[in-house]
Symmetry: C2
Subunit: 158 residues, 2 copies
Protein backbone atom coordinates (compact mmCIF):
# COMPACT_ATOMS: atom_id res chain seq x y z
CA UNK A 1 0.00 0.00 0.00
CA UNK A 2 1.26 3.44 -0.84
CA UNK A 3 1.80 6.42 1.42
CA UNK A 4 -0.65 9.31 1.12
CA UNK A 5 0.18 12.81 2.37
CA UNK A 6 -2.57 15.14 3.59
CA UNK A 7 -2.97 18.00 6.05
CA UNK A 8 -2.82 17.02 9.69
CA UNK A 9 -6.04 17.86 11.56
CA UNK A 10 -7.05 18.16 15.19
CA UNK A 11 -8.57 14.64 15.15
CA UNK A 12 -5.07 13.24 14.54
CA UNK A 13 -3.79 14.41 17.94
CA UNK A 14 -4.03 11.00 19.66
CA UNK A 15 -2.26 9.28 16.75
CA UNK A 16 0.48 11.91 16.84
CA UNK A 17 0.91 11.51 20.59
CA UNK A 18 1.10 7.75 20.23
CA UNK A 19 3.69 7.78 17.44
CA UNK A 20 5.86 10.34 19.28
CA UNK A 21 5.97 7.96 22.26
CA UNK A 22 6.28 4.76 20.22
CA UNK A 23 9.13 5.89 17.98
CA UNK A 24 11.46 6.12 20.98
CA UNK A 25 13.39 9.13 19.69
CA UNK A 26 11.86 11.75 21.96
CA UNK A 27 11.98 12.53 25.67
CA UNK A 28 8.82 13.31 27.61
CA UNK A 29 9.71 17.01 27.45
CA UNK A 30 10.21 16.85 23.68
CA UNK A 31 6.85 15.10 23.24
CA UNK A 32 5.23 17.84 25.33
CA UNK A 33 6.76 20.55 23.14
CA UNK A 34 5.75 18.71 19.94
CA UNK A 35 2.15 18.59 21.17
CA UNK A 36 2.23 22.29 22.11
CA UNK A 37 3.41 23.05 18.59
CA UNK A 38 0.63 20.81 17.24
CA UNK A 39 -1.97 22.68 19.32
CA UNK A 40 -0.62 26.03 18.18
CA UNK A 41 -0.30 25.07 14.54
CA UNK A 42 -3.60 23.24 13.99
CA UNK A 43 -5.94 24.24 12.54
CA UNK A 44 -3.57 26.64 10.86
CA UNK A 45 -3.89 24.95 7.51
CA UNK A 46 -0.99 25.95 5.35
CA UNK A 47 -0.44 29.34 7.03
CA UNK A 48 1.11 30.34 10.33
CA UNK A 49 4.43 29.55 11.91
CA UNK A 50 3.84 25.79 12.14
CA UNK A 51 2.57 23.81 9.16
CA UNK A 52 1.84 20.11 9.63
CA UNK A 53 1.32 17.24 7.20
CA UNK A 54 0.23 13.69 7.94
CA UNK A 55 1.25 10.46 6.22
CA UNK A 56 -1.40 7.78 5.87
CA UNK A 57 -1.19 4.15 4.88
CA UNK A 58 -4.50 2.38 4.28
CA UNK A 59 -6.40 5.24 5.88
CA UNK A 60 -4.34 5.16 9.07
CA UNK A 61 -2.06 8.01 10.19
CA UNK A 62 1.45 6.66 10.60
CA UNK A 63 3.67 9.75 10.43
CA UNK A 64 3.76 13.51 10.44
CA UNK A 65 6.04 16.42 9.72
CA UNK A 66 6.08 20.03 10.92
CA UNK A 67 7.79 22.85 9.04
CA UNK A 68 7.71 26.62 9.28
CA UNK A 69 9.37 29.67 7.81
CA UNK A 70 12.25 30.80 10.01
CA UNK A 71 11.44 34.19 11.55
CA UNK A 72 13.57 37.12 10.39
CA UNK A 73 14.78 35.32 7.26
CA UNK A 74 13.90 35.85 3.60
CA UNK A 75 13.75 32.26 2.40
CA UNK A 76 14.89 29.91 5.16
CA UNK A 77 12.58 27.30 6.66
CA UNK A 78 12.96 24.95 9.58
CA UNK A 79 11.92 21.33 9.69
CA UNK A 80 10.87 21.19 13.35
CA UNK A 81 9.54 17.67 13.76
CA UNK A 82 9.33 14.54 11.71
CA UNK A 83 8.08 11.28 13.11
CA UNK A 84 7.05 7.93 11.68
CA UNK A 85 5.37 5.20 13.68
CA UNK A 86 7.80 2.25 14.13
CA UNK A 87 5.35 -0.08 12.38
CA UNK A 88 5.57 2.13 9.26
CA UNK A 89 9.21 3.18 9.20
CA UNK A 90 10.18 0.65 6.57
CA UNK A 91 7.38 1.74 4.26
CA UNK A 92 9.17 4.97 3.33
CA UNK A 93 6.93 7.18 5.43
CA UNK A 94 9.78 9.38 6.65
CA UNK A 95 11.07 9.83 3.11
CA UNK A 96 7.61 10.65 1.76
CA UNK A 97 7.11 13.29 4.49
CA UNK A 98 10.54 14.84 3.96
CA UNK A 99 10.03 15.04 0.19
CA UNK A 100 6.56 16.50 0.60
CA UNK A 101 7.87 19.10 3.05
CA UNK A 102 10.57 20.14 0.58
CA UNK A 103 8.07 20.35 -2.27
CA UNK A 104 5.80 22.51 -0.11
CA UNK A 105 8.62 24.83 1.02
CA UNK A 106 9.87 25.23 -2.54
CA UNK A 107 6.35 26.20 -3.60
CA UNK A 108 6.37 28.93 -0.95
CA UNK A 109 9.61 30.38 -2.29
CA UNK A 110 11.78 28.72 0.35
CA UNK A 111 15.40 28.31 -0.64
CA UNK A 112 16.69 26.07 2.16
CA UNK A 113 15.62 23.90 5.07
CA UNK A 114 17.48 23.83 8.37
CA UNK A 115 17.01 21.17 11.04
CA UNK A 116 18.63 20.17 14.31
CA UNK A 117 19.08 16.66 15.60
CA UNK A 118 20.95 14.75 18.27
CA UNK A 119 24.48 13.52 17.67
CA UNK A 120 24.03 10.46 19.89
CA UNK A 121 25.12 7.11 18.41
CA UNK A 122 21.51 5.88 18.55
CA UNK A 123 20.65 8.56 15.96
CA UNK A 124 22.99 7.12 13.32
CA UNK A 125 20.06 6.07 11.11
CA UNK A 126 18.58 9.55 11.36
CA UNK A 127 21.82 11.11 10.14
CA UNK A 128 22.04 8.63 7.29
CA UNK A 129 18.44 9.49 6.38
CA UNK A 130 19.22 13.21 6.09
CA UNK A 131 22.59 12.84 4.38
CA UNK A 132 21.06 10.61 1.71
CA UNK A 133 18.47 13.32 1.13
CA UNK A 134 21.15 15.95 0.52
CA UNK A 135 21.34 17.61 3.93
CA UNK A 136 24.81 18.83 4.93
CA UNK A 137 26.14 19.34 8.43
CA UNK A 138 26.60 23.09 8.97
CA UNK A 139 27.10 23.19 12.72
CA UNK A 140 27.69 21.13 15.83
CA UNK A 141 27.16 22.27 19.42
CA UNK A 142 28.84 19.98 21.94
CA UNK A 143 26.76 18.74 24.90
CA UNK A 144 23.84 20.87 23.70
CA UNK A 145 20.96 18.63 24.83
CA UNK A 146 22.85 17.14 27.75
CA UNK A 147 26.40 16.00 28.56
CA UNK A 148 27.52 13.77 25.70
CA UNK A 149 24.53 14.70 23.53
CA UNK A 150 25.56 17.16 20.82
CA UNK A 151 23.25 19.13 18.54
CA UNK A 152 23.98 18.63 14.86
CA UNK A 153 22.62 21.29 12.53
CA UNK A 154 21.82 20.28 8.97
CA UNK A 155 20.90 22.40 5.99
CA UNK A 156 19.71 21.56 2.48
CA UNK A 157 19.65 24.09 -0.36
CA UNK A 158 16.46 23.49 -2.34
CA UNK B 1 30.20 57.16 35.30
CA UNK B 2 29.89 53.43 35.75
CA UNK B 3 27.42 51.04 34.23
CA UNK B 4 24.70 49.63 36.51
CA UNK B 5 22.78 46.47 35.66
CA UNK B 6 19.21 45.98 36.87
CA UNK B 7 16.07 44.15 35.77
CA UNK B 8 14.36 45.58 32.72
CA UNK B 9 10.79 46.73 33.47
CA UNK B 10 7.77 47.62 31.39
CA UNK B 11 8.50 51.35 31.73
CA UNK B 12 11.72 50.79 29.74
CA UNK B 13 9.85 49.81 26.58
CA UNK B 14 10.24 53.16 24.81
CA UNK B 15 13.96 53.29 25.61
CA UNK B 16 14.37 49.74 24.30
CA UNK B 17 12.50 50.56 21.11
CA UNK B 18 14.63 53.65 20.60
CA UNK B 19 17.96 51.89 21.11
CA UNK B 20 16.96 48.99 18.81
CA UNK B 21 16.31 51.54 16.06
CA UNK B 22 19.28 53.79 16.84
CA UNK B 23 21.92 51.06 16.96
CA UNK B 24 21.40 50.31 13.27
CA UNK B 25 21.98 46.58 13.57
CA UNK B 26 18.35 45.45 13.28
CA UNK B 27 15.73 45.40 10.51
CA UNK B 28 12.17 46.58 11.16
CA UNK B 29 11.09 42.92 11.40
CA UNK B 30 13.82 42.14 13.92
CA UNK B 31 12.84 45.16 16.03
CA UNK B 32 9.24 43.92 15.95
CA UNK B 33 10.28 40.47 17.15
CA UNK B 34 12.52 41.94 19.89
CA UNK B 35 9.56 43.99 21.18
CA UNK B 36 7.27 40.92 21.07
CA UNK B 37 9.84 39.07 23.16
CA UNK B 38 10.00 42.08 25.52
CA UNK B 39 6.21 42.05 25.90
CA UNK B 40 6.17 38.31 26.52
CA UNK B 41 9.10 38.35 28.92
CA UNK B 42 8.25 41.37 31.07
CA UNK B 43 7.20 41.35 33.82
CA UNK B 44 8.63 37.87 34.03
CA UNK B 45 11.30 38.84 36.52
CA UNK B 46 13.99 36.21 36.51
CA UNK B 47 11.67 33.34 35.50
CA UNK B 48 10.10 32.36 32.19
CA UNK B 49 11.57 31.75 28.77
CA UNK B 50 12.84 35.32 28.29
CA UNK B 51 14.84 37.08 31.00
CA UNK B 52 15.84 40.70 30.43
CA UNK B 53 18.38 42.98 32.08
CA UNK B 54 18.94 46.69 31.55
CA UNK B 55 22.16 48.68 31.64
CA UNK B 56 22.01 52.19 33.07
CA UNK B 57 24.47 55.03 33.05
CA UNK B 58 23.62 58.01 35.24
CA UNK B 59 20.10 56.74 35.73
CA UNK B 60 19.42 56.41 32.00
CA UNK B 61 18.79 53.08 30.24
CA UNK B 62 21.37 52.65 27.50
CA UNK B 63 21.39 48.93 26.81
CA UNK B 64 19.66 45.64 27.42
CA UNK B 65 20.16 41.90 27.07
CA UNK B 66 17.72 39.00 26.78
CA UNK B 67 18.62 35.41 27.65
CA UNK B 68 16.63 32.24 28.20
CA UNK B 69 17.13 28.55 28.85
CA UNK B 70 17.02 26.63 25.58
CA UNK B 71 13.96 24.37 25.52
CA UNK B 72 14.63 20.63 25.60
CA UNK B 73 18.16 21.03 26.91
CA UNK B 74 19.66 20.32 30.34
CA UNK B 75 22.00 23.26 30.71
CA UNK B 76 22.12 25.26 27.46
CA UNK B 77 20.99 28.88 27.30
CA UNK B 78 20.51 31.27 24.40
CA UNK B 79 21.51 34.89 24.32
CA UNK B 80 18.63 36.17 22.17
CA UNK B 81 19.22 39.92 22.04
CA UNK B 82 21.83 42.34 23.17
CA UNK B 83 21.73 45.99 22.29
CA UNK B 84 23.57 49.11 23.42
CA UNK B 85 22.59 52.61 22.45
CA UNK B 86 25.21 54.09 20.07
CA UNK B 87 25.86 56.95 22.50
CA UNK B 88 26.90 54.38 25.14
CA UNK B 89 28.72 51.74 23.10
CA UNK B 90 32.16 52.99 24.04
CA UNK B 91 31.32 52.95 27.74
CA UNK B 92 31.49 49.16 27.92
CA UNK B 93 27.73 48.69 28.12
CA UNK B 94 27.73 45.65 25.81
CA UNK B 95 30.51 44.02 27.77
CA UNK B 96 28.81 44.68 31.11
CA UNK B 97 25.56 43.16 29.82
CA UNK B 98 27.28 40.09 28.36
CA UNK B 99 29.22 39.48 31.58
CA UNK B 100 26.11 39.93 33.71
CA UNK B 101 24.17 37.51 31.48
CA UNK B 102 26.91 34.90 31.87
CA UNK B 103 27.01 35.38 35.63
CA UNK B 104 23.22 34.97 35.80
CA UNK B 105 23.19 31.85 33.59
CA UNK B 106 26.00 30.28 35.60
CA UNK B 107 23.99 30.91 38.77
CA UNK B 108 21.09 29.02 37.25
CA UNK B 109 23.24 25.99 36.50
CA UNK B 110 23.73 26.88 32.84
CA UNK B 111 26.80 25.32 31.27
CA UNK B 112 26.92 27.17 27.94
CA UNK B 113 25.47 30.08 26.00
CA UNK B 114 24.60 29.86 22.31
CA UNK B 115 23.90 32.86 20.09
CA UNK B 116 23.36 33.56 16.42
CA UNK B 117 24.49 36.60 14.51
CA UNK B 118 24.89 37.85 10.98
CA UNK B 119 28.03 37.14 9.00
CA UNK B 120 27.81 40.40 7.04
CA UNK B 121 31.01 42.50 6.90
CA UNK B 122 29.25 45.30 8.81
CA UNK B 123 29.07 42.91 11.80
CA UNK B 124 32.86 42.58 12.08
CA UNK B 125 32.90 44.45 15.41
CA UNK B 126 30.17 42.20 16.77
CA UNK B 127 32.21 39.11 15.94
CA UNK B 128 35.30 40.62 17.54
CA UNK B 129 33.21 41.41 20.62
CA UNK B 130 32.13 37.78 21.04
CA UNK B 131 35.48 36.21 20.18
CA UNK B 132 37.23 38.36 22.74
CA UNK B 133 34.70 37.13 25.30
CA UNK B 134 35.52 33.50 24.57
CA UNK B 135 32.72 32.60 22.16
CA UNK B 136 33.69 30.09 19.44
CA UNK B 137 32.08 29.65 16.05
CA UNK B 138 30.26 26.30 16.02
CA UNK B 139 28.19 26.67 12.88
CA UNK B 140 27.57 28.73 9.77
CA UNK B 141 24.47 28.64 7.58
CA UNK B 142 25.04 30.29 4.20
CA UNK B 143 22.48 32.88 3.02
CA UNK B 144 20.40 32.20 6.13
CA UNK B 145 18.96 35.68 6.68
CA UNK B 146 19.01 36.61 2.99
CA UNK B 147 21.25 36.07 -0.03
CA UNK B 148 24.79 36.94 1.03
CA UNK B 149 23.86 37.16 4.71
CA UNK B 150 25.02 34.06 6.59
CA UNK B 151 24.07 33.05 10.11
CA UNK B 152 27.07 32.46 12.37
CA UNK B 153 26.41 30.38 15.48
CA UNK B 154 28.62 30.99 18.51
CA UNK B 155 28.90 29.04 21.74
CA UNK B 156 30.73 29.68 24.99
CA UNK B 157 31.26 27.02 27.64
CA UNK B 158 30.81 28.68 31.02
Amino acid sequence: MGVTIRKLVRQDRAAVHEMLSACGAFTAEEIGVALEVFDEGIPGGSEGPYIHFAAEIGGEVCGYVCVGQTPMTDATWHLYWICAHPRAQKAGVGRALQMHAEWFVRGRGGARIVLETSGQPSYARVHEFYRKAGYCEVGRIRDFYKAGDDCIIYCKEL
